[in-house]
Homo-oligomer: 347 residues x 4
C-alpha cells in the first residue's frame, strides 16, 4: 500500500488525481491539502467524489504530508519549490505537476516565470517525467517534474522525426489547440462559458511559458538547437489538446510516407499509452477523452516537402494527472498502466 498526499487539490488536475487514485486498492490517499478550503469536505468541492473520498482538505503544512510515501503537487508554479526540499529530506518522493522543476536552466526559468527560484539546487536532481523518454531515470527519481500538457503532445509528436534527423529543426511549427480546462479552475472572465464557447482564438503570441520547456526537450532529441514557432489556441471544449506539427524535410533528405509510418511505429512499439494510428486515420481529441492515451498520425505533403504530425491527448490525463500517476507507477515498480486502463469516453 502506497500512501499518497496531494498538495493543492482544488483545481482540475487535483480532482483528476483523486478520480484516478481513489478506486485503487494499492494506494491510500492519506492527505489532501488546500490552504483556502481547509476544513471543507473534499466531496463538497467535487461532488463526483462523494462516496469515494471521505476526507477533508487540510492545511498544506500538515505533518501528514511528510508521512506519505509520495506527494503530488497540483499547485500553481512557484509553490512546490518552497516545500519540496524538506519532503525529500524526509524521504518522501515528490511528483510535481507544476512547472517548478521542468527547466534545467535556472536563469531561463526565472525569466519566464518572473520569480527567483527558491531551491535551484534541486532542479538538477529532478527527472523530467516523460516516460517515453526517461523511463529508467524515473524509476529511481526522488523528484519528478511532470511535463506540461502542450509539451507532452508536442514532444511526443516531434520526437521520432528529430531522433532520426529527418527534418530541418530551425523552422519547426507547433499549432496547438487546447480545451479550456487547460486554464484551470480560476474565476477569470476570459474562461466564462459566454466568453469561450462558440469561438476559437490564438493566444500568447508573444510567448507561452511552455515554449522553453518544449524546446529544451526537442533540442535534446535533435542533439541540436531547435527553432520552434509555437501558437496555442483556446478551443471551445472542456478537455483535449490537438497538436498539429509542421516540419520541413531536411534539404537533401528523401522521405516516404511508408518510411515515416515505420519510424513512428518503431519508436513507440511497446509504449502502453502512445498509439500510432494506421495511415489514413486521424486523431480526434474525443477519442482520448478521459484516457491516458496519446494518439499520433504522421503525414507527408510531397508538394511542399513537409511532414505534418497530429498528436492528441486529454490535457488533464496524459497532459497532467494521468502522466503523474504513470510516473508514480514506474517509481514504485507497479504495473505502469495500473489505474490508467480506463477506455476513453465516447461520445
Amino acid at each position: 500500500m502506497i500512501t499518497v498526499g496531494i498538495v493543492g487539490a482544488t483545481g482540475y488536475t487535483g480532482v483528476e488525481l483523486l478520480r484516478l487514485l481513489a478506486p485503487r486498492q494499492d494506494v491510500e490517499i492519506a492527505v489532501v491539502t488546500s490552504r483556502e478550503l481547509c476544513g471543507t469536505a473534499v466531496s463538497k468541492r467535487f461532488p463526483n467524489l462523494r462516496g469515494h473520498i471521505d476526507l477533508d482538505f487540510v492545511a498544506p503544512d500538515a505533518e501528514a504530508v511528510g508521512a506519505c510515501d509520495v506527494v503530488f503537487f497540483a499547485t500553481p508554479h512557484a509553490v512546490a519549490m518552497d516545500s519540496v526540499g524538506a519532503l525529500i529530506e524526509a524521504g518522501v518522493r515528490v511528483i510535481d505537476l507544476s512547472a517548478d522543476f521542468r527547466i534545467q536552466d535556472v536563469g531561463l526559468w526565472e525569466r519566464w516565470y518572473n520569480t527567483t527560484h527558491s531551491c535551484p539546487d534541486l532542479i538538477a536532481t529532478a527527472v523530467y517525467g516523460l516516460p517515453e523518454v526517461n523511463r529508467k531515470q524515473i524509476q529511481s527519481a526522488q523528484l519528478i517534474a511532470v511535463p506540461g500538457c502542450y509539451p507532452t503532445a508536442i514532444q511526443l509528436g516531434f520526437l521520432p522525426l528529430l531522433q532520426q534527423q529527418l527534418v530541418d529543426c530551425s523552422r519547426l511549427i507547433a499549432d496547438a489547440k487546447s480545451g479550456v480546462s487547460g486554464a484551470g479552475r480560476k474565476a477569470v472572465e476570459d474562461y466564462l462559458l459566454c466568453e469561450a464557447t462558440e469561438s476559437i482564438r490564438a493566444y500568447a503570441m508573444s510567448g507561452h511559458r511552455h515554449h522553453p520547456e518544449i524546446t529544451q526537450g526537442l533540442s535534446q532529441y535533435a542533439e541540436a538547437a531547435v527553432g520552434l514557432t509555437f501558437v496555442p489556441h483556446l478551443t471551445p471544449m472542456i478537455r483535449g489538446i490537438l497538436a498539429t506539427l509542421y516540419a520541413p524535410v531536411k534539404t537533401g533528405t528523401e522521405v516516404s510516407i511508408e518510411q515515416l509510418q515505420s519510424i513512428f511505429e518503431d519508436r513507440y512499439k511497446g509504449e502502453p499509452f502512445v498509439e500510432v494510428l494506421p495511415q489514413g486515420e486521424l486523431p480526434a481529441t474525443r477519442d482520448v477523452k478521459a484516457s491516458n492515451n496519446c494518439t499520433i498520425s504522421v503525414n507527408y505533403y510531397a508538394d511542399t516537402d513537409t511532414i505534418v504530425v497530429l498528436a492528441a491527448i486529454d490535457n488533464l490525463v496524459k497532459g497532467a494527472s494521468g502522466q503523474a500517476i504513470q510516473n508514480m507507477n514506474i517509481m514504485f515498480q507497479l504495473e505502469e498502466t495500473a489505474g490508467l486502463e480506463a477506455i476513453a469516453l465516447l461520445p
Copy 2:
C-alpha cells in the same frame, strides 16, 4: 428595386442570404427554389424567417428565376453549371456560391470535383468575387464565383505578404479551424452534435477541394507558383473560421513587426470589411460572428524568422452569403456595405 432569386435555398448559406436580404428596402426576394421542398413555406424550413419571408419554395426551373435581375446559387457543386448559361443569355446576372466557376483551369477543376464541367466556356468569363482583389471586374461581371470560406480567410491573410514579395512561397502553411456549419445542413453522422462537439480534429489531410482554389489566388498575388500545406480542422462551434498562417521570411530579406503592420494596414486601408488589428490584439471568431468582417493580425517570430498571420471570418457571412451580397452591391452600384453593416453578435 432589384429582384432576386435564390436557387437551392434549403441550407445554411441559403438561410443566411435570406436573413441578410429580407430586411432590405432596395431588394425584392422574388423566388426561392428547392427541388426537394417545392411547395413548402420557406418559414416552415427556417422558423427565424417567419413574418419576414412570405414565400413557398418553388421548383428550380421556375420561369420566375429567369425574370430576376440577379440569381444566387446556394447549391452543391456541379449544379449551377447546368443552369447558368441560359440565365446569362436571358440577361440575368448570376452570383454562384458554389465551386463551379472558381477555378480557371477546367482540367484541374474536373479532377478535384470528379465531374465533367458542363459549360467550360463560361469559366473564363466568371469573375472571382473577392472584392478586395477584383472590385473593378466585379462591377461589370455577369457571373461571379463567390470564393469559398477557407479561401477567403487564407487569401486575405497571405495577400499583403505575397504582393510585397516578403516570404518564401514554396513553404506556406495554412492551419485553419472551421465551425461545423461549413459542412452544411446535411444529415451526416460526423456532424451530429454527439460526434462533433467537445472535440477537435484535422480532416482532408490527403487534399481538400479548397486547396487548388487557394493556390490559384496565392500564385496570382505572388506572381509565382506557391507551395501550400493546408490543414483544415473541424472545430466544435457553429460558425467561424480562424486561419493561422505561417510564412518563412525570404532568405536575405529583413522584416520588422512595424513594417509588417504598415504593409497590412496600407493594403487594407479603406476596405470596409477587412480590419487589421492593432499590434497585440488577436482575432477571435466570436468577434466577427454574424458580421461580414474579416479581422487580421500580423505577428513576427524573430527566433524562427517566421511571420504568423491570423485571420478570422464568419464562414457563413464573409465566407459565403455576406460576400455574395457584397458582390451584388458592387455589381448594382449600390453602397458596398448595404445590408451588411450589422455588428457582430457578442456574446
Copy 3:
C-alpha cells in the same frame, strides 16, 4: 435625434444595447459610463463594436449623462436608485434594466434584495415596461422598470390564461431554462465554460429574486393572488430562455385546444414581437437568437387536464436590452419596431 446615455455598460446587457443602438440614424449614443473602465475605449472592451462606437467609457457621474434625452441603466441592482432621482428632476427619461423599480411593494423588494431602497417614492411613478401590458403608460413614463428575463417569458406565457380565468392560479408551475449569459459577465467560478457546459442543473430552489416580480404581474392579470412554483435551470448555452409553464385547468371549466389557440392568438394579435405558433409547432430558443421575438406555443393535456405553455425569448434581447429599446421607441413616439427588426440568427 435622441441622445442616449448608458450607465454601467460593461456587461452583456450593455454591449447588447450598444449593438442595437449604434446603427440607428435617429439615435446618438452620447455617453457610455463605467466606473471601472473609465478612460478605456468601449471597443477595447467589446471588439465587435470597433468601427461602430468611437467613445471611451467615462465616469458615471459625468455631466454628459444629465444632458441626455434618455438614460439606460445596465447596472447591478441597487445602483440606479441612487441616481435616478436627480436625472428625472433634470428632465431626463430613465430606462432601468435593473430590478430597482420593478416591485411596487418596497418592503418586499427590500427583503429580497437585502437593501434599503434609497428612493422609495419613485417606485410608484415607475412604469413596468412590458409593452404587451402597459403600452399606454409607457408612452408618457419618465421612469421605466424593464422586466427581468424570466419574468418576461413567464408572464407573456401565462397572461392569456389568467386574463381568461381558465386556470387554478394557486398551483402554477414555471420550469424555466436559461442560457448562461443571464448570469452576466462576472468572473464567477460557476459560470466558467468547464463548470457550465455539458451539464444542466436547477438553482435557487430556495427562492429566486425574479419570483416576487413574476407573481406581482401574474396576480394583476388574474385579479387574484397566485401561487407559483418557479424553478430556474442553468442551461449549457450562451443565450435564450425557454419557459415551460404548467397550469391546471380550473375545476368545472372545460377547455379545448382550439379554444386555447384562439385565446392566445387573439390576445397577441398585432403585437409586433409576440408570435403564437401554429398548433404542432414548438419554440426553440435558437429561433429567436439575437431577435426581440417571443414565440409561444399552447398545448393541452387532456389526461391530466393541464395546460402547458412554452415561451422562448433571447434573454439579452426581449429579456433585457431589446425590450428596453422597445420601451424607448414607445416613449419617443418612434416606430415601436425601430432598430429591432433584425431576423434571428440561424444557425
Copy 4:
C-alpha cells in the same frame, strides 16, 4: 467467466456496453453483431476501443450469439422480439435495452410502437430491470427489459413519494431535460451540431413513447392510476438527464422538508447507485457524467404545497448500458457494483 454477446452494437448504448465490459476480468465479450458493419473491426467504428476490443462485427444471426451466457440487445425497438425466443429456449439469458418487453399491456405497446408484437407470450416473463424495485426478480430472470432513460430518472424520483401516498397522483408533472445522445447515433438533421447546440426546446408534446412505460411503473408504486404530464426537452449537451418532478401534496396531508428528506434517505439506504443529496445541494448532470449514479434532491414549496424532486443520471449509463450491466451482475450473483465503480468525470 461469463461469455457475453452484444447484438446491434453500432450505437451509443453499444459502445457504452463495450467500454464498461471490456476491462472486466470476469467477462468475456464473445460476439458483437451488426448487420450493417458485418466484417468491420469494432475499433474502426469506435476508435476509443482500439487496443481494448479485438473483434470484428459479425452478422446478428451468428451461431456464436446462441453460445453466450448472456446477450445484450442494443437494437432499435421491434428487433429483439424476433430473436429473444430462440435464445431463451437455448438457455441464453437476455438483457434487452430496447423497449420490446418493457410494457406489460401488449395492446398498449402495439399502439405506441405501431407494430404487432411478435412474441407477446414472453412479455409476461420479462422482468423490468430497475434494481431498486425488482432486485429479487432480476436474480432469476431469463429476460430483462432494461428501463428507458427518462423512465429511470423519473421513476426513481417519484417512487418514495408514491409509495408513501403523500401526493395527489392525478396531476404529476415531469419536466425532463436530456442530452442529445438520447437520440442515438443516427444521421438525422435535427441532431446535427448546428441544429442542436446553443438551443433548448421541448419535443414530443403530443406523446412520447416513454410515457406509458413511466405511468406503468408509477401506478404500480402508487397502487393507483396516475396522471402524468411529461414534457421532454432536447438540451444542448452530449450526456445527461435531469428530471424536474412536480407533485402536489395530497389534500389533508401535511409534509415537512425534514420528513421528506428522511423518506428519501430511508427508501434508498443501501442502494449502491442512488444518492439522496443533503438538503440544499442540487444535482447537476455533470456530477454523474460517465457514472452509474442517480443523484436525487427533494424540495418542498410551502407556498404552493408542492414537492419538487430533482433526479440526475447519465442517460447512457444508469439510463441504459450501466443499468443493463447492473442487471447482469445481479443475475449472475456477481458484486452488483462490479465494473460500475468508475467515478464521474469532472470537468
